[in-house]
Symmetry: C2
Amino acid sequence: MNNNAPIGFMDSGVGGLTVVREALKQLPNETLYYLGDSARCPYGPRPAEQVLEYTWEMTRFLMRHQVKMLVIACNTATAVALPEIKRSLPIPVLGVISPGTRAALKSTRNNQVGVIGTEITVTSGAYSTALQQKSPQTTVLEQACPKFVPIVESKQYESPIARKIVRDTLKPLKDTAIDTLVLGCTHYPLLRPLIQEEMGSGVTLIDSGAEAISEVSMLLDYYELSAKPAEQLPDHRFFTTGSKNIFETITKDWLGLDKLNVTKIDL
Amino acid sequence: MNNNAPIGFMDSGVGGLTVVREALKQLPNETLYYLGDSARCPYGPRPAEQVLEYTWEMTRFLMRHQVKMLVIACNTATAVALPEIKRSLPIPVLGVISPGTRAALKSTRNNQVGVIGTEITVTSGAYSTALQQKSPQTTVLEQACPKFVPIVESKQYESPIARKIVRDTLKPLKDTAIDTLVLGCTHYPLLRPLIQEEMGSGVTLIDSGAEAISEVSMLLDYYELSAKPAEQLPDHRFFTTGSKNIFETITKDWLGLDKLNVTKIDL
């Protein structure tokens, strides 16, 4: 295995960029390849079999680019596809649900944890199962937020309409005892200021994607796969199945990069 | 693999108990088996070949007890034996140096990191190599502290003599620019209050053993090896090659447990 091979990240759209942002910070030597399937986003309301199929298509694309490790930077795809893909590939594969779960249990002081995610992620019960298996005394309140991903993908995450949707959607969680809220979808950190404002400063928000990067870092060490420091900066690449323009605007805004190597592809 | 099998921890003596303490907190469902080779402690001044041999003896002992994961809770043994043992065993094996390295890089703001450890750990350069490979701009100052382990093993870690030894040993690090100091030996957290007092509050101390438990937790998830919550509390076991009495006193003091299942063994 080539230590200087890229790490592959994939998501239903631009949400996984919040994971890439953390990777740029924590793993400056690593080359990152990112694939966002914006053309078919959102995955959340789709049947599980279809999400599994789409996730396999993204996986095969990144495997053709010789990635050394694969990060499913999407909670929906993690909930549906992680076990099967991890079992099938010869490289380390990781998702975002376990890291989010561990961070939530570390953060909560009253064992009352909220989780927000897409319809599939919530219906799958992936978070509540994981949380209660590790800590049976924990109460988990889950809330699907079907409108959040479309707002982010259309780059309206700072608009007044976003504020209203966040307020309406989070109402059921607002007057509960939760002291920790897992952002169980990698798109949601783009709405973080609005979510924090709505939930109040007493609730700690957990960014499952950012937590996943600590796990990437650990597995790079564990498998002795870390990139060697090189003379030049790593040559990151971004692929989208959707609009190259919208993807570039969001990526530049969110990652603070001015030079981007973006390719529009079909899966 | 049986998820309810114990996790094995081993150390040259009682130092690894500082790792077990963190495991009791973060992983309450897990059964822990601990082996401390106090009869042959300290390992630090011994030739590397001998440390490798002793570490293999401890490994074989714990493997006979069907552990599902092995933690080399000793920096000296990690520096010398981790790669070979990890390659040879069919279960996950991890040490304390990588986690300490990652935590130090996360903590430092000025890229000036100190490392204290035994003679072998310092001579091996394990920490400075790992730190500089991840972050070439980091300056690493290392200091061997050969008198620290004997003080802890003889339960003098709160005595006036301990204070004097800590002060004299750390003198070369005291007036440097380091803002982070890795306790690169699992015995040292027992001297933590004295070390912190000597270095001042501007220096963040990194407990490599405590950091290792986050890695244990991740690997348990990654390999789907976490214990299922059980009706009864886990039945921890402790083994020492040295004095059962001294071991019990330090263990009760350090772990805050009043019931302990300790067995004196020969390797």
